[in-house]
Amino acid sequence: MNVLRFKGARMFAGILFVLIGAWIISAAVGSSFATSVINTVTYPIRQLTNGAAQSMQPEKSAPELAQENALLQEQINSLQEQLVNYYDIQKENEQFKKYYNIRSENAEYQLITASVIAKDELSGSKMFTLNKGITSGIKVNNPVLTEKGLVGWVSEADITSCTVTTILSETTTISVINKRTSDTGILTSSDKCAQSGQAVMTMLNENSDIAKGDIIVTSGIGGVFPANLRVGVVSDVKFDEFDTYKYAVVTPYEDIANTNEAVIITDIISQ
């Protein structure tokens, strides 16, 4: 039985042969030529159909557009609020990290975190205001520090805020000690030093061999400030204008002029 005697069988065989050849060629060199030919041939038709499809798209009316605009504006407002909240949370997270570090290093102290809400422009970096007060357990003379070191003490306490006098103020008098030589002194400041962000260690023993680079910490003498709170590093050793006594210029660890958050020691948990 000759299969090719069936009607159309020869045409079918011929087309099959052509398609198998096209398959082999296409597999070998790709079908980009055929694609480009078909696209060129159908280009005018596709222009017509694309135009027809676009004309069939319903246009939005003015009220629909206004409604869509209002909805999008609402979404923008909501996203902006979320962004503000995100930044707040991010800042709070960083604050908590710093607080955690301070807490770890000062486990024996009761600490309260606070943010700077006001700085006295006239006094420069000598005073600033924190957002915690008596209701948070803040008392006058409570030490104020950051994760880098001591920045000052609470000089006034209101119900919801407190004023901090920094170690750059000439009214500050903190008993400090040189970690290397164990020389004690009084930390204070002057107008000139405060302008350059530095404090002064006075009342040094005349035989003291305090030197540049020495680390200064609180001594704990007097009972107001706990001992071993980092203060700063000696940047210079000088004599007064009459050459009568020696003093050390101390650069605080913390950049007090740019402090935005701080921690207040309100109590000592354990001795």
């Binding site: 069936f6 009607k7 159309g8 045409m11 079918f12 087309i15 099959l16 052509v18 398609l19 198998i20 096209a22 398959w23 082999i24 296409s26 597999a27 079908s31 055929a34 694609t35 078909i38 041939v41 159908t42 038709i45 596709r46 017509l48 159909t49 694309n50 027809a52 499809a53 676009q54 069939m56 798209q57």
Partner: protein, 164 residues
């Protein structure tokens, strides 16, 4: 073949190109769950049912090649499948007096197989597996939608005299 037949064949190919443009224009055809029918396959089916075997084979081959170009796959396998199916349909349709009835009965299987063939070619070309959801959407649903157009094609076309 006389001039009229050549003209008819030429018009079939033009119609094929038009169907190819229509089915590839976004937003032109109403989609069901995003599925649009294969108009080229429906046209090939209509020609296979109502016209002679030579025209059926040529139209089916052109439809298959156009579908493969749309997929970006190698040219050949799908066109061979479509040509073979249209050959069988053409040979079978002579035993039925009513082309529309024949279309209603056989076009379902043809359409589903044609759409599954497109899906398989696409999957092989891109090296991806066919999920059940794709099988249902692109195979069955699209096949049924294409079947509808096969029936319409049969209703539009006129039975041509059988050639010796």
């Amino acid at each position: 073949m006389n001039g009229k037949k050549y003209l008819r064949l030429f018009l079939y190919i033009i119609a094929d190109l038009l169907c190819f443009s229509l089915q590839n224009t976004h937003g032109m055809l109403f989609g069901i769950i995003g599925m649009t029918p294969l108009l080229t396959c429906a046209l090939a089916y209509g020609v296979a049912v109502y016209d002679n075997v030579n025209f059926a084979l040529i139209t089916a081959a052109v439809s298959g090649v156009l579908s493969e170009i749309t997929l970006g796959s190698v040219i050949g396998p799908y066109a061979i499948l479509l040509t073979a199916m249209c050959f069988l349909i053409n040979r079978s349709s002579n035993y039925f007096d009513s082309g529309a009835l024949f279309a209603v009965i056989t076009a379902v299987g043809y359409s589903v197989l044609a759409c599954l063939g497109v899906l398989i070619c696409f999957s092989v070309q891109n090296g991806i597996n066919i999920s059940f959801e794709q099988f249902v959407n692109h195979g069955l649903l699209r096949g049924l939608y294409t079947w509808l157009f096969c029936v319409i094609a049969c209703m539009i076309m006129k039975k041509q005299p059988v050639e010796d």
